[in-house]
């Protein structure tokens, strides 16, 4: 008992003698943000700068930013959103409707200035009249080529930079005969790069309306026009158009395959090509003197729309609907979606954005590239969204396995590919 009394007295003395802590200064609320693009220096720098600007200019909120590869972001989100422990702001793409359907995304109408978003980009993120994402990245599906190699093969592009179906096949065949890799593509870590050439050709053959039906499962892959395009593709594939290593070649490696080793003639890739290619060569970018050109996808015989082109919204940022710090997260997103930041994106990334920008203020070392890109996109009729924006579940999986991989790898024939796609995607 005596010992207990002594212990109590000692504790009391210690408490009285210890310095009284000063009242804690109001700590800023910290929110978490997860972004893709850990391996794309320009985009990473743009996101980092936006967060740094926000943190510097905001006393109430601070943002803790991390970069994670895309596949891991989506896997993590599917686990953490269910348990309510997701980041306050996260990378998102419009082709993941389950996040809307599950109610995990917060409408941003009350937080951002919608005038800061391009009109054409808004529909990608609009559901039931509300907007759910800041479309930082937008892109068109382009056909890049090595000017020197095309010249070496004795092919001269017409003034509109669009070959005919036969001329394009001839270019591929000349490359094969010369021992030069015709097309760079890798599907080792993405479910879509192997399908760009096929689907852009289908878009030009079918036109916007019927191509829309195709990707909505309302038009059969056994339609004669589709079969004609697939048969033309199959001829080039069997001749050896695509790399034999494409099944394991990753997207980043496909870039390297195109502009460094072994070097390919053409590279079907969205305009986010620049994210990797315009990095420093030592960081995996293209050589400083690389003769990059952009040609149009070939015009299909009897094609309904030779000037059609795919436009899409890619990497964006959304807010977790159960975030305990919506005001801070909203302020961060609002600070991103400004004309000034859109212009900075164009300058830094050399890629289109769904955030409004001021073309007159773009000061980029890649001005020539932009000039080329704008020239190729002039007079284009846009179809909005790549096939995976529309395909779901089994259909998306079949697209990935068949049209993205097995068909361009030459593993299956035209009829087999068409039947498999119809079985998985065609509305019954």
């Amino acid at each position: 008992m005596k010992r207990q009394v002594l212990a109590c007295a000692a504790a009391l003395c210690a408490a009285l003698l210890s310095p009284v802590p000063p009242p804690a200064a109001a700590e800023p609320t910290q929110i978490t943000m997860v972004s893709n693009w850990p391996d794309e220096p320009a985009k990473k720098a743009w996101v980092s700068d936006r967060v740094a600007d926000f943190n510097a200019g905001n006393q109430q909120c601070s943002v803790k930013l991390t970069f994670t590869p895309k596949a891991e972001i989506f896997t993590q989100l599917k686990a953490t959103l269910r348990t309510g422990h997701a980041p306050d702001i996260f990378y998102m793409e419009p082709d993941s409707p389950e996040f809307f359907d599950g109610g995990y995304l917060e409408p941003l109408d009350a937080y951002i200035e919608q005038a800061g978003i391009e009109d054409w980009a808004r529909p990608a993120w609009t559901h039931n009249g509300k907007i759910y994402g800041i479309p930082a990245e937008a892109y068109t599906v382009e056909l890049y080529y090595n000017k020197n190699l095309v010249k070496k093969l004795g092919v001269e592009l017409p003034p509109d930079f669009q070959l005919t179906q036969a001329q394009f096949a001839d270019l591929v065949n000349r490359a094969i005969k010369a021992g030069i890799a015709p097309v760079a593509a890798g599907v080792g870590d993405r479910p879509y790069p192997g399908a760009f050439l096929t689907f852009e050709s289908l878009l030009r053959k079918l036109g916007i309306e019927d191509y829309g039906k195709l990707v909505h499962g309302q038009l059969s892959y056994n339609d004669p026009r589709v079969i004609a395009v697939l048969t033309w593709m199959k001829g080039m594939i069997d001749a050896g158009a695509y790399p034999r290593s494409m099944s394991t070649l990753k997207l980043g490696e496909a870039h390297f395959y195109f502009y460094s080793s072994p070097g390919a003639v053409i590279f079907p890739d969205p305009s986010w090509y620049t994210g990797r290619a315009f990095a420093k060569p030592e960081d995996g970018g293209q050589p400083a003197d690389f003769p990059l050109g952009i040609m149009q996808y070939p015009a299909m015989d009897n094609g309904a729309c030779p000037t059609c082109k795919t436009l899409a919204v890619g990497g964006s940022f959304s807010m977790f609907s159960k975030s305990p710090h919506k005001e801070c997260a909203g302020a961060m997103l609002r600070s991103m979606a400004t004309v000034e930041n859109g212009t900075k994106w164009m300058e830094m990334v050399a890629l289109q954005t769904g955030i409004k920008s001021d073309p007159n203020k773009i000061d980029s070392p890649h001005a020539d590239y932009f000039k080329d890109l704008n020239a190729r996109d002039k007079n284009a009729k846009y179809f909005f969204g790549v096939p995976l924006l529309y395909y779901r579940g089994k259909c998306a999986e079949t697209y990935s396995q068949v049209m993205n991989a097995a068909f361009p790898e030459g593993l299956i024939g035209v009829k087999d590919a068409a039947d498999q796609m119809d079985a998985a995607c065609l509305s019954k």
Binding site: E98, G393, A396
Partner: protein, 317 residues
């Protein structure tokens, strides 16, 4: 500790009945619970609960965890008609049956090499066991390089010896991809089986081996009639352990092929993962149904194997 118990308070004496010693049959419930509790808690939280929960989930559509929708056996009915699942089952069974035979067979051969004291035994023992120490991620990346069509060492060697026609896209050809992955798995695990087999060989009674030598039994005869029969329980244990592990194979496939090309390397585990995390849905009901069915298949197969083999040998694992 026994001294503390022996000299401790009356409460401790009540807890442990006199004369328990090494015999636990006389221990009170409280003592048993004290020792078993932590293990039971971990087992319950980490194994039993997730298992029961998964089976329960398979009867629901769970887009929203707070509002699961009861669908009865609908997920199982859908599963019965799911072609991709059937393909995954076939691939997994091929892997589970073939790979353990190769794992154990190669492991035994390597162990016999070491037992026979081939040159560089110490180096070979380390070299053959090293793959076991590597994670699947490292193994997968290394073999992605080795299998590369253009510059991978496998194709480079074929071309170098004039067999360029055999150079293939090992992971891009549906007829070769599964075999290529199984080969990697065997490469990784043969070393483990080698070590176990070597220990078992060294523990064989020397008088039996000496008797065989006195009977003029050669190496082949000794191997066939003495060593392998006496190693049989060890080999069976290794086979069953490997079989169970292969039924759950995921990492290697996911990193190298993600089930492609054309689902030729799809396994049940990769399909469950796809349906849970890469299928444009938050529904956990259908993946839970796949997992439940496969759990049942694994349990039944192991019981059958155990029963079949126990009729001849006592299998312990």
């Amino acid at each position: 500790m026994p001294q503390q118990v022996g000299n401790g308070s009356a409460a401790w004496r009540r807890l442990l009945r006199p004369g328990t010693g090494g015999d636990t049959s006389g221990a009170s419930w409280l003592v048993l619970l004290l020792f078993l509790g932590p293990a039971l808690l971990v087992f319950g939280a980490m194994t039993a609960y997730p298992m029961v929960r998964t089976i329960c989930d398979s009867f629901f559509t769970i887009d929203d965890p707070d509002k699961p929708i009861w669908v009865g056996l609908a997920n199982y009915v859908t599963l019965a008609g799911d072609g991709t699942f059937r393909r995954a089952v076939v691939n997994t069974l091929i892997w589970s049956v073939a790979a353990p035979v190769l794992d154990v067979g190669v492991g035994l051969l390597l162990a016999l090499c070491l037992y026979a004291k081939v040159p560089f035994t110490r180096f070979l023992r380390v070299a053959w066991f090293t793959p076991v120490l590597l994670s699947y991620v490292v193994v997968a990346i290394v073999w992605l390089w080795l299998y590369n069509y253009d510059w991978g060492i496998v194709n480079v060697l074929f071309r170098a010896i004039g067999l360029g026609g055999l150079a293939s896209a090992w992971l891009g050809n549906p007829h070769l991809a599964l075999g290529s992955l199984i080969f990697i798995d065997v490469w990784k695990w043969a070393g483990f089986n080698m070590v176990v087999c070597l220990a078992a060989i060294h523990s064989l009674p020397s008088e039996v081996l000496e008797a065989a030598e006195l009977d003029n039994c050669g190496w082949g005869g000794k191997l066939r009639f003495v060593i392998v029969p006496m190693l049989r329980p060890t080999l069976l244990n290794l086979y069953i352990l490997a079989f169970v592990a292969k039924m759950k194979v995921f990492d290697l496939v996911w990193i190298m092929t993600q089930g492609g090309p054309l689902w030729s390397t799809e396994t049940v585990s990769t399909y469950v993962y796809k349906r849970a995390f890469a299928w444009n849905t938050f529904d956990l009901g259908y993946p839970a149904a796949i997992a439940s069915v496969w759990f049942g298949v694994v349990i039944v197969t192991v019981l059958l194997l155990n029963r079949l083999l126990r009729s001849r040998e006592r299998v312990e694992f």
